[in-house]
């Protein structure tokens, strides 16, 4: 019997189209032939599925017809719970809002990280020694001095100079006899005008001819008609590194007065391993900035740059090699006169007080306005 015929019989059998005799015959066949039997079962299942599928389509059509009679729109308005707009916005957009917030947090954190704000060990804890006299202080001092002068005037009948202490004060020292002076960049930064004052109290106008902010070094030139040649510079500049433990000192005007600061070289690297600086055990004060660091034989080995607030008695000085480098870097058209560094050291054999006596003519108070 062919497949075709068997299926035909099965269809008729399942549909109940058979006569009683045919039916009995088919059932016997089914009983005797397992193959036919399994075909009947399989076909029944498949046809059943087709029928159910048809019923489902039919039912869906009926439900759709019922649905179309309902006024969904009115119902919806009645049943909708209207949450306030923040809640509904959060419901609909919470994933987007969360993503945006995390991106924002990430951006802030990475900005902080890359700009170093999260790093607490940055160099800002080195307190720069520039002595910033605030507005009030300055005014008070000027007033006090004016009053002093007025009373003196009243007593002596002679006018006296009013000294303005300036916004920033530091120290500087002569590089050559014709008026070139080295100091710290931070002292003269943003200054409108710069004056230098020698130990005798004479002020000269100076101009900044070169700066190297990276090493905190500035070179000034005195351009005042009253300025006379300084005579031979008694110290020279050391090119090589100085040794640990060497006896060193500085000279400057930390509080407006000449001040001698002795100590020794305690480290060949500065704050946080800064290789451009020495660490010295000199109790440097604000105003020492820009002063020369000399060794016992009177060689300039550095220039005082700052101190670390949490380390009492420790100061830092930029190594003289960087000062020499800065001098070399001055563009030649900025130099109206020759800048010839002294190579002769006339301090070497002298005792410390004698050294200082000579030195003080070459060290200046730097005032920036």
């Amino acid at each position: 019997m062919s497949e075709n015929l068997i299926l035909e019989l099965i269809d008729r059998y399942l549909n109940g189209d058979m006569t009683a005799a045919e039916r009995a015959e088919f059932e016997t066949l089914r009983k005797n032939d397992a193959n036919v039997d399994s075909k009947v079962i399989e076909h029944k299942l498949f046809v059943g599925l087709i029928k159910q599928y048809g019923e489902r389509i039919e039912l869906e059509k009926r439900l759709d017809a019922i649905h179309s009679e309902i006024d969904v729109h009115t119902l919806k308005d009645e049943l909708m719970i209207h949450p306030n707009w923040i809640v509904s916005m959060w419901r609909h957009h919470h994933s987007k809002i969360s993503v945006a917030a995390s991106i924002a947090i990430f951006a802030i954190l990475s900005t902080l990280f890359f700009t170093g704000k999260l790093n607490s060990h940055n160099s800002s804890d080195v307190e720069l020694l520039s002595q910033k006299v605030d507005q009030l202080n300055k005014k008070t001092n000027t007033l006090v001095q004016t009053t002093d002068n007025l009373t003196r005037q009243g007593r002596t009948g002679k006018p006296n100079k009013v000294i303005n202490p300036g916004n920033f004060r530091g120290t500087g020292f002569a590089l050559s006899s014709n008026g070139y002076i080295a100091t710290d960049y931070h002292i003269i930064r943003d200054a409108d005008s710069v004056y230098v004052q020698n130990a005798a109290g004479e002020s000269f106008h100076a101009k900044v001819i070169y700066t190297e902010p990276k090493y905190d070094i500035a070179i000034l030139q005195i351009n005042d008609a009253a300025f006379k040649d300084l005579g031979n510079i008694p110290y020279n500049f050391k090119k090589s590194l100085s040794d640990l433990g060497e006896e060193v000192y500085t000279f400057g005007y930390p509080s407006g007065e000449e001040n001698f600061g002795p100590g020794s070289l305690t480290a060949r690297n500065g704050h946080s391993g800064d290789t451009t600086e020495y660490q010295v055990s000199i109790p440097v004060n604000p105003g020492n900035s820009g002063g020369p660091l000399l060794d016992s034989r009177g060689n300039v080995i550095g220039i005082i740059s700052g101190r670390q607030p949490e380390m009492a008695g420790a100061g830092f000085a930029k190594k003289s090699a960087y000062l020499l480098k800065a001098i070399q870097n001055i563009p030649s058209d900025s130099l109206s006169k020759d800048l010839t560094l002294s190579t002769k050291n006339t301090l070497a054999g002298l005792s410390r007080p004698q050294q200082l006596k000579k030195l003080k003519n070459y060290v200046f108070m730097v005032k920036a306005y």
Partner: protein, 189 residues
Amino acid sequence: MNKDLKASAPTDSEIVLGILNNSEIVLKRLYTTYFPMILQLIINNNGNEDDAKDIYQEAIIVLYNKIKSGEFELSSKLKTYIYSVCRRLWLKRLSQMNRYGGDIRDFEEYLPVDDEVEKHNDRDIQFNKMEAALQLLGEPCKTIMEDFYIHNRSMQEICERFGYTNADNAKTQKYKCLQRLKKLFFQQK
């Protein structure tokens, strides 16, 4: 409107009997009685009225088939049963759409109906396969299959409809169509 519907709400046994007797009126009353409840559930949980329609009809079909198969026992209220099925279906739909925020605003009590929803889903998959197979089958086979197996038309009628000269030709055609339909159906994953 809501009040009217509630007033005319059919009793649960009325509905079961009506469905068993293929009553169109009962089906309609059942449908209109509980639709507002489901609309409320869906539109207040990130859905719209079309979602509500889909979900509700699926639930009615689940209930309808259960009653028809004689498995349905009135152990809970029909209302609770419909609500539970819809709730379950909607949660599933929400997570498929990645819109499930982790909580759902409920308006009624509900029962665990996971098994029934699973069963319904399996069936749905079969029906989708059948629908696709019929589409692929093309004409005239599709109509022959539908006429004979779904609409229970006799071979004689089919013969006339398609203009076959004799019933044997029609039978051969029907046989070929059936074989192809089976092939298409079982080929699908």
